[in-house]
Symmetry: C2
DNA sequence: TCGTAATGACGAACGGTGTTCGTATCGCGT
DNA sequence: ACGCGATACGAACACCGTTCGTCATTACGA
């Protein structure tokens, strides 16, 4: 999450400093005019579209249509589509509840934060693609980083390991959600049906054993993993591997 | 990688069975006609475009242009753009060299396979987005799965852990490469410059310490990580955490 | 109060995308 | 020779993000 870009926008230090200053001075809302286009309304409309139809359905025209205006109107509020994407991610990150760090339960706590983030992303199918593209340009995404860092460092994980583990977990959460979203999306130009585990295993067993011996032998394990078992397994392993260092 | 979809295409069992049968019967090339459009030429042209200009630059028109024809011509060979994307991923996976499993070095071996995949994906900026979207629909991507499974199982990792670890590693590799590609892509609608670690740390230190105490205190660790240090760290932790179970 | 500048709103148009449909040509089998 | 299937591909469709120009409103300074 903090791997080389710090949301500088186009303005360099001045822009970044201004953004920090804006922490204390939230932008005023519309000035009493009835139903003006506001950034907040744009973001809300966009999130509704993504929730309903997936990230690929999110276009400037669709957002504008929800607001009963034309797409050009949006550009008074956002520079471009990328910026709108970033705002959406910021909004989702702001909805994650960060716990008071407890050294005795740091593993549970970090996993809970990841699970919350996962669930936020999964509620908006495909949106984690924007999360991968986004620099941590909003204060809300940096707040997630801060919260996770607090958990790990308070739990005794060395700062360097903590920093990199957060990066790793975030990337994994994004990928997990993106892949899951593609799997469930019927209109993605693909005709794949989501297979039940036994169907999936049967498919794998049809492969030639001469060339795919392990795949055929372990088809059921390869196909297993309902709910978020894979997610839990991965983060469990990651933080366990971290713990093996953090002792 | 094998988490619910098995590249069924639109034909169900017949299509899958036909694809397995095709393992022994490769499609004949063009029938002596000079420079016919072939699937191979399409894939090569597409990969060249991605290598040069990134995945976002890959359009049917661009590919067709490289082949000195119109975009409609491509549809005699691929159903749609998604299918072309999948073929590209299959091609890249086919280029990964899978080792003869050695139980004494399974950790090194699995990490090497992941690193090869990473480097393949990084050579084609942004293409791992297609890898996340793709079902493992080609035999080549399933071959990667088989190779990794062989390494882990031969190394003593229980089959279920192995299966899920492969899935996790693959997702992480894809996300890592995608995020890295976005960071390096100047034309992505963003004006971010890639920051040096010290610049990045300085930015983080500008945040208010009252709200970001850990971030400010550990800015240099958060910004650290040159080359593929983060990649190595993550996979190290993941497989170490796996090893803690696999004893 | 008035004039000007700034801001917001937004239609028309631009250059771009994936895809379909219809037409033409070629190769193969009967 | 004829018919059919496969390949090739232009024209057109519906859609995309964005810019530019115009208009209306608001805010500010004299």
């Amino acid at each position: 999450m903090t791997s080389g870009r710090a949301g500088t926008g186009s303005g360099g230090d001045d822009d970044w400093a201004a953004r920090i200053a804006a922490l204390e001075n939230p932008r005023h809302a519309g000035r009493g005019r009835k139903d003006p286009i506001t950034l907040d309304r744009i973001v809300e409309a966009a999130l509704a579209i993504v929730a309903e139809e997936g990230f690929e359905a999110l276009t400037m025209r669709r957002v504008a249509g929800q607001l009963r205006t034309g797409p050009a109107s949006l550009y008074a509020h956002v520079h471009n589509k990328s910026e709108l994407d970033d705002l959406l991610i910021g909004r989702l990150c702001a909805q994650v509840r960060l716990p008071e760090p407890d050294p005795a339960r740091w593993r549970d706590q970090i996993r809970d934060v990841c699970a919350q983030l996962r669930d936020r992303f999964l509620s908006y199918p495909g949106i984690s693609r924007a999360a991968l593209a986004a620099a941590p340009r909003s204060i809300d995404t940096l707040a997630i980083n801060e919260g996770m860092l607090a958990i790990l460092v308070t739990g005794g994980v060395p700062a360097q390991s903590a920093a990199w583990a957060i990066d790793a977990a975030y990337l994994y959460v994004c990928a997990y959600c993106l892949e899951a979203s593609y799997r469930r999306e019927p209109g993605s130009g693909r005709d794949d049906r989501v297979l039940r585990a036994d169907e999936m295993a049967a498919r794998l067993r049809m492969l030639p054993a001469s060339r795919f011996p392990h795949t055929v032998a372990h088809a059921s394990e390869l196909a297993a993993g309902g709910g978020h078992e894979r997610f839990d397994f991965t983060l469990g392993a990651l933080f366990r591997g971290l713990g093996a260092t953090a002792s």
